[in-house]
Symmetry: C2
Subunit: 94 residues, 2 copies
DNA sequence: TAAACAAGTTTATAATATAAACCAAATTTT
DNA sequence: AAAATTTGGTTTATATTATAAACTTGTTTA
């Protein structure tokens, strides 16, 4: 039987965010917004969910005087993503 | 930029249904229900959506005296699935 | 100093997935 | 042969989600 897909990752924007974070040391809100094309509101909400699930770590600080929200994937997030991709392979023929 | 994911296919159950139909000539309601583990209600609704989108063809008939709902993927569905998988590859590193 | 901008957050709305309840016909049980 | 159960679904209700719109707080810039 097909494995269930982690609902936290099976969301276009959250998947995009994780997918980007997998490849970099860290990324800030503005960068994620650019890369995903999401609205600030949507991005803010989804980052929060990923953070609350422990999939990413969020550090809010300042660069000079501008606020900066820095996101970094955690080991939990990495593992969940790997699991998700494995499960997905059952659905698409790869 | 990441390609958007066809929202009709980016749904666990609908994806499962299409994924099964891709591999067979046709499949009936009961078989799809078994294979996906979905409830009848949910499956009924999702089959309807796929059908209305033209991704699958649904033929309601009888076998002996029992009703039978037969589902078959269409060319449109096949193409959409291919597109979806391509887009997905942008999200997962494959 | 007022207007515009940056970087987000909060709230409202619309869409979705899902389960629960329901239905009709056939089959099985008593 | 009635009553109960099963089969093969559909319809309706609910809870969750995604998303956008509106708002906030502070900072530049004109």
């Amino acid at each position: 039987m097909l494995k269930p897909l982690d609902p936290l990752l099976h969301s276009e924007l959250r998947l995009a965010v994780i997918s980007i974070l997998i490849g970099v040391e860290a990324a800030d809100f503005v960068y994620l917004k650019e890369r995903t094309g999401a609205t600030s509101g949507n991005l803010s909400v989804q980052i929060d969910k990923l953070s609350k699930a422990g999939y990413i770590e969020v550090e809010k600080g300042f660069v000079g005087r501008k606020p900066r929200t820095l996101c970094k994937i955690t080991e939990i997030g990495r593992a969940a993503f790997k699991e998700y991709v494995e499960a997905l392979k059952g659905y698409i023929n790869m």
